[in-house]
């Protein structure tokens, strides 16, 4: 971070996501945010006013699980696009052990990173798990259609699990969003589908080598 120039001109751009992948991400991210807002409105009385964004309490209650259905299909798509690239590999342990250096902005001290670093992989796998938990517990408490499917004691556990999983998922989402803001140039991957050569060199050097060496982007 030595030079002063905040945004050096891009040497060239590297494709990181296809348009289909970006749209898929947009739908998933949008539904996750709407779910978090409508869900938190019911989670705590101090946030109940948020139901106003959905046309009142009854509407927020009604619409939330349906957005959950959209999230399910959206995430399903993302999962099958990206799971392979998120499989654990050698350098992940080193990355995690050097969390301090990463957070300090000194990735250059670590082994070159492929398409995703261990932090991104953790976000991917924890979201996958949490969304499955949210869907299963969410269906269990979707009384408008499935009230007869489970007993009241089961629903009590499901609503607690749903609330806790939602809180954890929202925290993971905050980390995911913050990382994209902190590491400048990352948003381009979603807004433009490509990143600058310098960004790739700095954060995902092994991926850059592989990409310009001829391998295609996902």
């Amino acid at each position: 971070m030595s030079n002063a120039d905040p945004t050096p001109e891009a040497s060239y751009r590297v494709t990181r996501y296809t348009t289909a992948a970006r749209l898929n991400h947009l739908v998933t991210a949008g539904s996750l945010v709407l779910l978090a807002v409508s869900g938190m409105a019911l989670f705590h009385p101090s946030l109940f006013f948020l139901t106003g964004l959905f046309g009142g309490g009854a509407m927020a209650r009604e619409i939330h699980p349906w957005i959950g259905v959209v999230l399910f299909f959206g995430f399903f798509g993302l999962f099958f696009r990206f799971w392979r690239a998120n499989l654990p590999e050698r350098g992940d342990g080193e990355w995690l052990r050097n969390g301090g250096a990463v957070l300090g902005g000194h990735e250059e001290k670590l082994t070159e990173i492929g398409r995703y670093n261990a932090g991104q992989k953790l976000v991917f796998w924890s979201m996958s798990l949490l969304i499955v938990v949210l869907i299963v517990s969410g269906l269990t408490i979707w009384d408008e259609y499935f009230a007869a499917w489970t007993s009241i004691p089961t629903k009590r556990i499901a609503v607690l699990v749903h609330a806790v999983a939602a809180i954890v998922a929202i925290c993971v989402w905050i980390i995911h969003l913050y990382a994209a803001i902190w590491v400048r140039g990352t948003m381009d991957a979603m807004t433009k589908g490509s990143v600058t050569g310098g960004w790739a060199w700095r954060h995902h050097r092994r991926w850059l080598r592989e990409t310009i060496g001829g391998k295609s982007a996902g």
Binding site: P6, A58, R156, I175, A200
Partner: protein, 297 residues
């Protein structure tokens, strides 16, 4: 005098100022040993509250309809019980419905401000214009009472005829009961009345006769005189030690505070990190190195 917001002692998902003057606590006392199962109370409830349950099906039991519903707020539950001591077959009849708990699980679970209220006289009422139909009250109630309507997606249950009580009348069911198995008055009076009934039952050989006013929910404003008070569960599953489920307490207690705190901390951590470390920017060298790499490739 009508019940007003000045008489509230609890309001779901919100708080109320403590009432200036408290009303005397009321109670409905149901003496199962006097009940003849005529269902006059069930009819009176439908009549007064203008409910229109659909005609049911006979499945070989007097119990009809088979369960409480959004338009059946009270239901006679019939049980045939083999008394192991006497060898007698006893026909147990219990009038089921909301117990108007002092510590209502429905109200604790409710996320909608003002959809469930508790008056200082002990009545727990559902306020339908504030109800959002989430079904959390169903999960909160230890007695399996609230039912969600398929017509308007709102929760319904016995009101203890709050509209009649606030005008100095007893509930419709008590009014209709031909044997005075259902009586209504202040909770004090009802406990005294129950004592007399229990003494009478004991003198006639029901050694375990007693009052059902479970402490686990802080006592109730619908109480039973049971001839077998040592085993309430034989009366169509009346819970022995009802209390708000520990899972519900955890969900509505620690989880709420910890949840908000954790989300707040995560967001705050981001802010602090950004202030301390600044943005992680791509440098000119990075771009130059990337360009060199491309030339070589």
């Amino acid at each position: 005098m009508a019940l007003t917001s000045a008489d509230l002692i609890r309001r779901s998902a919100s708080s109320v100022p403590p009432p200036a003057a408290k009303l005397p606590e009321v109670a409905k006392l149901i003496d199962v040993s006097k009940c003849i199962g005529c269902k006059a109370c069930q009819s009176a409830c439908i009549e007064w509250n203008d409910l229109k349950p659909t005609v049911g099906e006979n499945v070989g039991s007097y119990q009809n309809p088979h369960d409480l519903s959004p338009d059946t707020w009270t239901l006679m539950r019939f049980t045939e019980w083999d008394n192991p001591k006497s060898g007698d077959l006893e026909w147990l009849i219990r009038k089921d419905g909301c117990m108007h708990c002092s510590d209502p699980g429905c109200l604790k679970a409710c996320p909608a401000p003002g959809a469930i209220v508790q008056y200082s006289n002990g009545i727990v009422d559902f306020v339908h214009e504030n109800c959002i139909g989430c079904g959390y009250c169903v999960k909160g109630c230890p007695f399996d009472i609230p039912r969600i309507s398929k017509v308007d997606e709102k929760a319904y249950k016995c009101t203890l005829c709050s509209d009649r009580v606030s005008n100095g009348q007893g509930p419709a069911c008590a009014k209709a009961c031909p044997t005075q198995a259902i009586v209504f008055g202040t909770k004090e009076e009802m406990k005294k009345h129950a004592d007399k009934r229990i003494a009478d039952l004991k003198s006639r050989g029901f050694a375990e006769a007693g009052l059902y006013d479970p402490a686990g929910v802080g006592g109730t404003h619908v109480m039973y005189v049971l001839h077998h008070a040592d085993r309430p569960e034989i009366y169509a599953g009346l819970p022995k030690n009802p209390a708000i489920s520990a899972v519900v307490e955890l969900w509505k207690g620690a989880t709420k505070y910890a949840g908000l705190a954790v989300v707040g901390l995560a967001a705050a951590a981001g802010f602090v990190h950004h202030i301390v470390n600044g943005a992680n920017r791509v440098t000119r060298e990075d771009e130059a190195n990337a360009a060199k790499l491309k030339e070589k490739a």
